[in-house]
Amino acid sequence: MKKVSIIIISFLLLVFISGCMQVAQVNEKLIIQAMGVDLSDEEYIITVQALDVESAGGKDLVAAKKVKIFKARGYSIQDAMVNIKSQSGGKPIYSQAILLIMGEEIAKSGVGVFIDFFIRNYDFSPGVNVLVARGKACDILTTKIDEKIITAEKLASISKEGMDANNSVNSNMGQFIGDVKCENRGAIAGYIMSEELDEKNALVVDKIAFFNGDKLVGVLDPEESKGYLFIKGKSFGISDLVYSPDFLDITYTASNSKSKIKVYLQEDKLSVSIDMNVSLYVSESNVGVNCESDSSNIESLVSDRIKDLAKKAIKKSIIDNKTDIFGFSCRFLKFNFQYVKENDLDLVEMLQDAEYNIKVKTKLVSAKSY
């Protein structure tokens, strides 16, 4: 019995060796860092930024960060990726991807058509950053800064910096798709655009693109984006300029903020109460402004400004574009689910006619200089 089992095992060992026959080594694969999706003449244009493995060896750290760009067309994403595979000669690996950029045109026509590729492919992590490009995504991915193509890492950090500067949000695939599928909430993504400053390219992420369903319906400008962030209570580090006839201008930075949102029914009409508590400090002001003695004036000025920003954001998204990006509907639904179901209410429509009570309480924490 033992001899028989040893013979069988030896035979199986030979069979097991076939497990490594079809394996491609990691250097023979296409390690994708970023993908861009555009639409042109009913065809998808996929731009892929992959690691340039050949120049990555050795101690040269700069060479280690080189990337290669591949571009292909196809009737579907998969079709285009097959073309990219034949161009590059390597099997694509999506597991290292950190960025997905959608062109404005394809975002307006609807992401639901192509996003399924990224959902079904388990290699694609739900943590991949999602951005909407002004114009074409391929332009963003092929942007050169100091004669070098900007890497996906740099792009991702720019969008993160945008988040830190709080003009934009860091939206990942999981959050984005969840919001697209949610009936009562609009998806958002950072809006990236290329600007030319003194004959040099610069990429900026300071706006927020928002979607109604799966279609891009609008972009919040920098001020409206700040308003959105104040409402969401994510305003740490937001800087803004406040004009005043007395002081001319003050630049304040929010150091901490909390936001309490209540959505309730009042006589068949929705009321949204937003209470914000913002701590701030003055980072720049005109000479002659005494921040300590004028703190109450400054606080009052900033409160009005924040209220204004919030109203702008609400007007642009909910009132003008019928898109609830703040989650007001979800809040109401959570505690009044049965009522909504029974009465078959369209919450977003109700939000357009809702009453918004925005209260902002600011506190000047530090003037930094006197």
């Binding site: 490594c20 990691v26 250097n27």
Partner: protein, 507 residues
């Protein structure tokens, strides 16, 4: 090989050999000439047999020794001189004269009477002097051993920073004293047995009578009696007979140690030791998996440091066993686990070399094993040449020429260093890491996980004399964790001295 021999002997005794197996015990003759003829004919063509004939008063006598086995000075002073200058009662019978010499003349501390040639032969071979006298059908075996033996020195394989520097030597009696000096207790028993039908190697079973399990002791004795080897030249020869039957396992169920202090520590927990004459080590059983990670230094250092080192050993074990396999598996099948910078470097390194990652890893592992073996066998004077060749050939040239990748070399180097943290486990780890590397390169992380689980099951299934091999870890005993992953202080360790046989049986 031993199983084969054993099976042949168990199944059938070759015809014609039955007579040889039944040995005739021949009693000693009263005739001196006959006795001397027996020994001279047995040792025909042997240059080391020495026969000294002399007369005691009017009686013929002789002493027989093996040259080089006796202390000639002691022989002359304590045996020959007293005998020759003794005042034997002349009118007494020769037997009474013999008794007089045995009890009142000789000034040696140990002597034994042999009534048959076999016992006399065993004594002679052990280095004793045989005293024969005409008319007395007995041979007096006198212990005046004085053969050259290695002095007590530091153990080579089990080195400690603190603690005793004494190690076992080849002489069984010296080894017995090394143990007896450390446990001054009459409950420490030493039982003598003889193993090896041709070599007749003396072995000694030792244990603490109040701690040992009688069932395990009987089992060990029974297995030792079943040893049917002709020659027993080292303690390792006995290992297959002492382990469970038909159990193939990479890990030893018995432990071989060169240190008397470690051995004494083990028998104080109810284990049994075996000393083999001619072997500078002792066999201890039953042995547990957790004990591979315990050394004498652990108990000589502060508990916090000893615990840190203990954890380091466990980590080193896993690194030395799994690292090449995981590296190959992740690099080939699941590179997404690596951060982008690492994968970049890895891909570049693989791209620069002509071989796939699995093949590269196996090449370096084999080259390392060749170098290690060469380093062991080379004379010391040439030993440094191995390190130069290794450093130049592998470290510098292979990487520079692009045959081998630097990350792979680094992984194998780390594996090699980690395997030396627990030298006792080197053999199973060396084999397992090859297997894991192959499985990782063929089946990826899933294959490694499955193989790891199977290895765990194989280890957990092992039982030694009713004691589970992985006891303390599984079956889990919280109290015994004080000396498994950490080393508790002596106040905690001394609370309840555990007996190995009291671990949960059949669990």
């Amino acid at each position: 090989m031993f199983y084969l021999i054993k099976n042949i002997l168990e199944r059938k005794i070759l015809p014609g050999t039955e007579k040889k197996l039944i040995k005739k015990i021949m009693p000693v003759s009263g005739s001196l000439e006959e006795n001397l003829t027996y020994f001279e004919s047995s040792f025909e063509n042997c240059i080391d047999l020495r026969v000294r004939k002399f007369k005691i008063k009017s009686n013929n006598a002789a002493i027989i020794t093996l040259d080089g086995m006796v202390d000639k000075e002691t022989l002359a002073i304590s045996v020959l001189n007293p005998i020759l200058k003794s005042n034997l009662p002349e009118n007494e019978q020769i037997l009474k004269q013999y008794e007089y010499m045995k009890d009142e003349v000789l000034s040696t501390s140990e002597q034994m009477e042999c009534f048959n040639y076999e016992d006399a032969m065993s004594s002679l071979m052990a280095g004793c002097t045989l005293f024969l006298i005409e008319g007395v059908p007995r041979i007096l075996s006198i212990e005046v051993q004085g053969f050259e033996s290695r002095p007590i020195s530091e153990p080579v394989t089990e080195v400690t920073q603190k603690g005793s520097r004494e190690g076992f030597v080849e002489k069984i009696k010296v080894n017995i004293t090394l143990i007896r000096r450390r446990i001054k207790n009459p409950n420490l028993k030493f039982e003598r047995m003889v193993i090896g039908s041709v070599s007749k190697t003396p072995i000694c079973l030792f244990y603490l009578d109040d701690m040992v399990s009688p069932k395990i002791l009987d089992d060990v004795k029974k297995r030792l009696k079943e040893v049917n080897l002709k020659y027993v030249l080292s303690a390792e020869y006995l290992i297959p007979y002492l382990e469970e039957k038909n159990s193939f396992s990479l890990f030893n169920a018995v432990w071989v140690s060169e240190r008397p202090d470690s051995v004494c520590g083990k028998i104080s927990e109810g284990r049994i030791g075996i000393l083999v004459d001619g072997a500078p080590n002792a066999v201890i059983l039953p042995y547990l998996f957790a004990e591979y990670f315990q050394t004498m230094d652990d108990y000589n250092q502060r508990p916090y440091f000893a615990s840190l080192i203990r954890i380091l050993k466990y980590m080193s074990f896993f690194i030395s066993m799994l690292l090449p396999g995981i590296y190959v598996a992740l690099g080939t099948f699941n590179p997404e686990v690596f951060p982008t910078e690492v994968i970049n470097k890895l891909a570049a390194s693989i791209g620069d070399t002509p071989f796939p990652l699995l093949f590269e890893t196996l090449i370096i592992l084999f080259i390392y094993e060749i170098m290690r073996e060469a380093g062991l066998r080379l004379p010391r004077a040439l030993g440094h040449a191995v390190s130069i060749v290794g450093a130049l050939v592998i470290g510098e040239t292979a990487v520079t020429s692009g045959l081998i990748g630097a990350p792979t070399l680094m992984v194998v180097a780390l594996t090699a260093i980690s395997s030396y943290v627990i030298p006792n486990l080197y053999e199973p780890v060396a084999l397992l890491r090859l297997v894991f590397a192959v499985v990782g390169g063929v089946m990826g992380v899933l294959g490694i996980t499955l193989l790891f689980t199977m290895t765990l099951i194989g280890v957990c299934a092992k039982n030694n004399y009713g004691v589970p091999f992985t006891t303390s870890i599984s079956p889990f005993k919280f109290g015994e964790m004080r000396d498994v992953f950490i080393r508790a202080g002596w106040k905690v360790l001394s609370r309840n001295y555990k007996k190995v046989q009291n671990t949960t049986k059949n669990k």
